[in-house]
Symmetry: C2
Subunit: 324 residues, 2 copies
């Protein structure tokens, strides 16, 4: 199980290979939020999302012989790109299994980061069977997107940075809002802050209809979402909290916050106009909660993690046009 | 005249009031540029542009009694916002004189940063006369946008950070491409690098038709632009290099680089897709030169300064739609 020692070890293995992302703010956003608001701009991370940290952590934790044979991942999104680049920087092969109807840009990017992309037909092929066959044939190690202790440890390095940055800004107590899919980032940050900045309390943020973590925290047991799609927040639509992550989030996190797709879109536009960063919809739910759920938040200061920026230019253009 | 001691003194006065902006990169941009490409994301600075640094430097350099009476500036753009916020953070009044046909958003933002905005009619009123009257009545100090040694010193703090960041990345020799209007940022960075990282050579970047600095450097004397408008790169359309800045840039800078509006727009879109930052057209000319003028650039690495991100959402949306 991930603990603070694993997170610090992950930070040491990551070293300068990942970026220490800045903590941004704007008086205009403070005014909307009704308190001081800080945004951890993890969209500026390599590959455009925090997923690179977890991928690097998991790959670098493998013994050299195992690692040399290569890694495999299932993903059509940010995890794919994180694993692909971390593998290339380690000089090892990566196979990424993606649905053949994934956006072309994501497939191209994953290939451009040096991975071998294996496409499968969602209707007629069994993704897991393809993965098992390839793993067995080539002795590839599976890198899971969140339910894996070393991945959680890598995401926890965001929390180590936040503890330092909050201290630099004189913030001793605040809620830390984190976009939550399977809970890898949420759990990692919560563990890091428990040890390094106990006055900072994590609250998971999710879109309407995909509030499995909020409901699971309230119920004290893992609950599932009814739907698998239909929100613009594609990066964080997972069926349920993970078995590695939920025990951590249920022990450490405050109640979940839930925002609408419309609020996530408005937060994207405000991040554009006020912070000059590009945030994808799923990564904007924490900023949306900070801006539009102020009565559900405690304290004079709040920190929102903007966890990624991999958004289609056409969609972003249309969102800017509609919400400016 | 600005020198390295003034730049270091400006840095000490600025302290933690301005942001140390990150140096970003992407393997996709390296590939287009044909070399390692680093982008100094000064669009993430407070008020969305480097102008905040120069404004803070000039205001903080005033003696306390003079400063307490307040400052005045002429600007419809980034300098207005920089002076307004720096004045507010010093707890002093600021008057910003803006044309009445300036974009509403810029007027509103400048007011929201706490400045008193005085509008004038470009056709029927004399801006300078209004400024002189107000200054005399209230003993306000004029903060010039570039042709002022303390402003150049403030912009030079970008160069101090670049010297450190280049060293962290192991870059001893590179060209540093800087968007150039009146030359305050260009001159400040050039002075800082001369002292702190002499292997880094500044090259001013301008849009087609507004290459006054490139022509002035080639001619060895100040030359003027024929037109005053007609490029999307509004932030850097100045009539000619300054009398404070030109002696510095002519002594220290390499030849100017000139890009088209179309190339600046394509660079904006690539900064969006590959770096997840918002860059305004005038601030994208250096990145455009790094990407699309590679034969005119020397060395294995190049650094481009992205100097601001204050771009109208409608224009950005349309640019994304057109160039994605």
């Amino acid at each position: 199980m991930t603990d603070i020692a694993m997170i610090k070890a992950a930070r040491d293995r990551i070293g300068n290979h990942a970026r220490r992302t800045p903590l941004l703010s704007s008086p205009f956003l403070d005014e909307i939020a009704g308190r001081r608001l800080f945004v951890k701009a993890e969209c500026l991370q390599l590959t455009g999302s925090f997923k690179f940290r977890g991928a690097w952590s998991a790959i670098s934790a493998l013994d050299e012989e195992t690692r040399g044979k290569g890694v495999i991942a299932f993903s059509s999104g940010n995890h794919a790109q994180g694993v692909a680049l971390a593998a290339r920087m380690h000089g090892i092969p990566a196979v990424i299994i993606m649905p053949s109807d994934a956006p072309n840009l994501k497939i191209e990017n994953t290939r451009a980061y040096g991975a071998e992309v294996v496409l499968y037909d969602r209707q007629n092929e069994d993704r897991d069977a393809i993965g098992e066959r390839l793993s067995a044939e080539r002795n590839l190690t599976l890198i899971r997107p969140f339910d894996e202790p070393h991945v959680v440890a890598g995401q926890g390095t965001v929390g180590l940075e936040l503890a330092e940055q909050a201290d630099e800004h004189g913030i001793a107590r605040a809620e830390v809002l984190v976009p939550c899919g399977g809970g890898g980032l949420t759990a990692g940050i919560a563990l890091a802050l428990e040890a390094e900045a106990p006055g900072l309390v994590v609250r998971p943020c999710e879109p309407d209809g995909f509030d499995d973590t909020a409901r699971s925290l309230a119920a004290g047991r893992i609950e599932r979402n009814a739907a698998m799609g239909g929100s613009i927040c594609d990066a964080i639509l997972t069926p349920s909290p993970g078995h590695v992550t939920f025990p951590i989030t249920s022990r450490l996190c405050g109640p979940g916050l839930v925002v609408s797709d419309d609020e996530a879109a408005r937060a994207m536009v405000l991040a554009f106009t006020r912070l000059k960063i590009v945030v994808e919809p799923g990564a904007a739910v924490a900023l949306a909660a900070a801006l539009f759920r102020q009565k559900e938040i405690m304290g004079d200061a709040v920190i929102a993690v903007a966890s990624g920026g991999n958004v289609d230019p056409g969609f972003f253009s249309e969102t800017l046009r509609r919400y400016r």
